[in-house]
Symmetry: C2
Subunit: 688 residues, 2 copies
């Protein structure tokens, strides 16, 4: 960035020492130099939208006075010029916090220490919530820039755009600029209304010329917004994010309307294969849903859609292709070739986004492989396993589990076909995580009696007032985290053996183990007397969970093989579902490798977080692309050992590795129920 | 461009001398080197679409045998390898002309002279029709490229686009590639159908990455087409042009539908000012007309719209802005600021072009100034006054006349508000140039009797069979070139004086000079007896022509002043109207400066020619942009001398400069008719 068109500084020979904190950058400047100019020439990160015209107040600084032995300087009270009329007006109209000066107005009169507060830094850090999260450094692709454009001159008949480009070059160091036609069509009016001052939203996220996404007459304060969108098979989640400070203004999710074409990814691929034009139907559906989401987020936040100038998308490969309008058929068969895996910079109109700024830009994070999508890339960007000192396993649990394993020495990735059991599908009483769904289960090992909690109610089922609190809808089914806890608790209570068989009432001593065909089921909840449902955990349910968790574990194990390790240091559970899983129960089930207590962390919607990081930082987009290139991909479908691991992981817990950490925490009973029903070595746990 | 993936050349130490004609490039190559490879490494302009796979036959060469004293070489009969199977198959299937070889198949065995025929050169010259036209060197922005793409590999899961990019880099030296989503959506199918060979239409017209505009499985021969479009105020003309050889496949014109919003430019600007959204109506109308024109040209040529991958637009500034969707209001008032004057690279969809390839690219030539548009830039590109050894005046006559004056030392440009009189408007019997319009007029100086020709009939009005030939529509009016000839002939015949006054029948001795109000009119044609029109040249018509020609001459004179010259060496009349003007009559009228006989040339639709040149050559686009930057613009509206010249040019001929060349050719009578009607110094020309 070049020097700004500040008011002329008097040319005096006397110089003063200027030290900026927290950067520590220092230099000597002629007395009379504006602070902003000094900051610019030292490369100090001091914001400015108006380019030093005393309008935007983004360049506020806090001069420090007195003795600074550390810096070897004494700052006199008159080290800066007195408040000038511009600062006085700004303070009167909008208020300037005590001790603050406008960097473009205050001039250096003597040696001085100047602190740049975080909110005046362009590249300020946004601290994320969790303690071990790295802060995000703001580096958005789009900035507001106030420019002063030369009026037209009949003797030098350049166009308004050409004079705007020249002004951006001189005043902001922007070498080349283009403007889409809809923006160009508003340029002349804006320049004249703003009396040759105009604020432009300038996108500089690509290698080519900067793009004027929008413009406003005179000074426009913003803020501008972006959408971080995670297009999941089931849910589309979006965060409306302030592009100045990274704060989330509103968040919302909607069901992915593609569900009507198929519950899981492969059934959607099948739909596209079986129905000519089916891929286009699904593309239309998901784009409409995303645009609707953008519209409702803007309405919720009370902003114009026009203020949304960017969007970042993350999604698994099938969602990625359907979003882009590409038939996903190749992703349904070996060798699972992506049409494109690279990061994409698009325009909003390419994806039919009509509710955002008409020139809005879209960035799609890169896919890692045909089975490991941009959502996994976003998880990697949020969790940065490549920066981890210890060996971390990151698992994003969904219909497919994306698994990352690595540390500073390298990262491996694979995808494992867990199927939708973890999302409550293929479970007899299964349902999505919605009010009325059982999400927590405890079974008394002594009595075999359960208690549980349902989504939307804070009480356990054995607490007073539960029936009233749960409301007339009552208990409706069991969701993914609920079935995991149920099976793990059944295993802990000795109602299920290592092979996954449910014992009979006789074998287990629990009347809740009821016959069902040639097998048994566990009666978790019976509301038939009140006309409600009878919720059972069936042998089929346990088989479904076993298949899903075996696939997940086998995937993790395959990466451990490739890495040549028998254990990992810690586990991160990503995804909305991951946030609700009890680490202990997941370990009892054998979903994840055995790690010390406390070494399993939920990262929440890490894909969404990665999308937000990429939205706030072009550097992060580059890092994501570089990271994806470095990640070593393991294709589970062609690894013979995957099948071995899968079979070995069928036991509860798995039979592959020892689990000393788990064994130190819980005592796992070891009954064995054959299919016929007679107990073999079963241990009665009923007391008394 | 890097070396191609030709079949491996055997590594032999023995080398042979290869001389290419007509370039004269020569070099020594190991025996066994394919001719195409030798040509590539010497930078010889030898075409290839298939990259040396013996499919496209674009690299045909004609080896020369025998003694070549000029080159100091003797070429033996076995200087090239014998025909191989690929050439034999090609000859069998498609036919190879006698003496031709495929450059990618024939290998060098001994010293050889190889002629590259014009049709095998990428940058071949397209000879234009007129004798003094410079040839156009083909250098299109879009090329067809056959590439062989690596099949996908599960162990290295890059996407198809990434592997296509890599193949284009290795096989064609293209460093970076992008593909719009609609193209990307067809990539996977095309690659698999073509068994990993695909032909891409690759646009390399910008500074950024190459763009895949379209693709076809396997080898696609083309050709690709482009549209050269001249959007005039009255007519939109388009040429469907073959992008391989520059030939015009079909041409068509339609009326500009904006005429319903205003006949001339200023009335359209007024419409936009008076009617909110009026500019958008006009934008929609012109875009629809252009798209319809594209559709009918494709239909006429029997090609798919998909084959049209580029378009170049030229137009005056108001048409330019309305085409781009920009309100032209600023162009209607000083300082006549363009929204943008630079060359633009757009997508077809930006202009609503739905009948061409969906990824088609659009190039808009730069405007010279707010009154001198991209059409004038196109005229400059076609005529290249900046390359002229002598001083040339180029006049593009329309509602506004664009005027260029210059030679190798520099070029000046201005626009002059001639008004629509030259197009037949504002003339009592005026009409557009259409069948039935009088376009040629001769008046016998002795008798004052006229004869004329009308558009659509080859006979003069005094020739036998005229009445039948002109058909039932008869003579309907007088068009621009007709009125110019009529006035000039009236002046020659002594019926009009130097001031532009028509004499009475008494003063002139011609009964055709009939009273009309307080002035006189000349009866050119009277068909009232047959129920037809009575076509008069009125005093008002002459005033209108005087205003128009004065404006034109004053503009030219202003440029001559700026250049400091009193005369020009030659005049080029551009524009469809210019093609129909008689140079002698234009000089008599004083429209153009006096130049020697034969020094006035009609360049036809030079703007359309310039558009075609830009369509065929990205180098020409760059030259046009550079030329426009170098042209010095003169704004007639603010030059005080324009008014002086305008007044002085009112006389017939003008009173500004001497006209010795004209005087040597014709004797101009010098009557003087005052408004009252009495002859003053009038000279009777009637004989006998």
């Amino acid at each position: 960035m070049t020097a700004q068109p500040l008011a002329d500084a008097p040319a005096l020979a006397r110089e003063a020492l200027v030290i900026f904190t927290p950067s520590g950058k220092r230099g000597r400047f002629p007395v009379g130099t504006p602070v902003l100019q000094a900051a610019r020439s030292l490369g100090v990160d001091l914001d400015s939208v108006c380019g030093g015209r005393g309008i935007c107040s983004k360049c506020q600084v806090a001069p420090q006075f007195g003795e600074f032995p550390k810096h070897g300087v004494t700052v006199a009270a008159d080290a800066l010029s007195a408040w000038n009329a511009v600062e006085a007006r700004y303070d009167r109209v909008r208020g300037l916090p005590p001790g603050r000066r406008l960097g473009c107005q205050a001039r250096i009169e003597g040696d001085v220490v100047i602190d740049v507060p975080p909110e005046s830094q362009v590249h300020r850090q946004v601290v994320r919530k969790a303690a071990d999260d790295r802060p995000v450094v703001m580096d958005p692709a789009t900035h507001l820039r106030l420019v002063e454009v030369e009026p037209p001159d009949m003797h030098e008949p350049r166009g308004d755009l050409e004079r705007l480009s020249e002004a951006l070059r001189r005043q902001w160091g922007i070498e080349a600029v283009t403007a889409p036609l809809p923006v160009l069509s508003r340029l002349q009016t804006a320049l004249r209304k703003g009396e040759w001052q105009v604020t432009v939203a300038l996108w500089t996220g690509g290698a080519g010329p900067a793009v004027v996404l929008d413009l406003w007459p005179g000074f426009f304060e913003g803020p501008l917004y972006g959408l971080a969108v995670d297009v999941g098979s089931t849910t589309i989640a979006a965060h409306l994010t302030n592009l100045s400070d990274g704060s989330v203004r509103a968040s919302a999710g909607v069901m992915n309307p593609q569900i009507r074409f198929g519950e899981d990814l492969m059934s959607r691929v099948s739909y596209a294969m079986m129905n000519p034009g089916g891929d286009r139907e699904m593309t239309r559906a998901v784009r409409e849903a995303i645009d609707g989401l953008a519209q409702s987020l803007a309405a919720e936040a009370g902003i114009e859609g026009r203020a949304i100038v960017e969007a970042v998308f993350v999604c698994n490969p099938v969602m990625h292709h359907l979003l882009l309008g590409i038939d996903p058929v190749e992703l349904g068969q070996a060798p699972f070739a992506l049409a494109t895996g690279g990061a994409l910079d698009l325009e909003g109109r390419d994806l039919g986004l009509g509710s955002v700024n008409e020139a809005a830009r879209v960035h799609v994070l890169p896919c890692i492989a045909g089975h490991v999508g941009a959502d996994a890339a976003a998880v990697a960007l949020a969790e940065r396993p490549d920066l981890s000192e210890d060996l971390v396993l990151v698992v994003d649990v969904g219909t497919n589990a994306e698994i990352l394993l690595g540390d500073r020495s390298g990262v491996l990735a694979c995808s494992s076909p867990t199927g939708p059991a973890f999302e409550g599908a293929q479970i007899s009483a299964g349902q999505r995580a919605a009010p009325g769904a059982i999400e927590r289960v405890r079974i008394d090992p002594a009595t075999g009696e359960p208690r549980f909690r349902v989504i939307g109610c804070d009480l356990w089922s054995d607490e007073p007032g539960f029936a009233e609190a749960v409301g007339p809808g009552g208990v409706t089914g069991i969701c993914g985290s609920g079935i995991i806890e149920a099976v793990a608790e059944m295993r802990l209570a000795g109602l299920v053996d290592r092979a996954g068989l449910i014992g009979s009432a006789e074998q287990t001593g629990s009347a809740r183990c009821v016959p069902q065909g040639r097998t048994h089921a566990y009666l978790l909840h019976d509301a038939t007397a009140a006309g409600g449902p009878r919720i059972l955990v069936t042998q089929g349910d346990i088989r479904a969970i076993q298949l899903a968790k075996s696939a997940l574990y086998a995937g993790a194990r395959l990466l451990m093989d490739a890495r040549g390790v028998e254990r990992v240091d810690r586990v991160v559970l990503a995804g909305a579902f991951g946030a609700h899983i009890s680490p202990l129960h997941a370990t009892i089930l054998g979903m994840i490798p055995d790690v010390p207590e406390g070494a399993v962390r939920s990262a929440g919607n890490a894909a969404g977080t990665g999308a937000r990081i990429a939205l706030c930082s072009v550097a992060a987009r580059r890092e994501a692309a570089a990271l994806v290139r470095r990640i070593q991909k393991i294709e589970t479908a062609i690894e013979p050992r995957f099948q071995e691991h899968f079979v070995a992981a069928n036991a509860i817990p798995h039979a592959t590795d020892p689990f000393p950490h788990l064994a130190a925490r819980v005592a796992l009973p070891e009954p064995s129920f054959n299919a016929g029903g007679a107990a073999e070595g079963g241990r009665r746990r009923r007391r008394g």
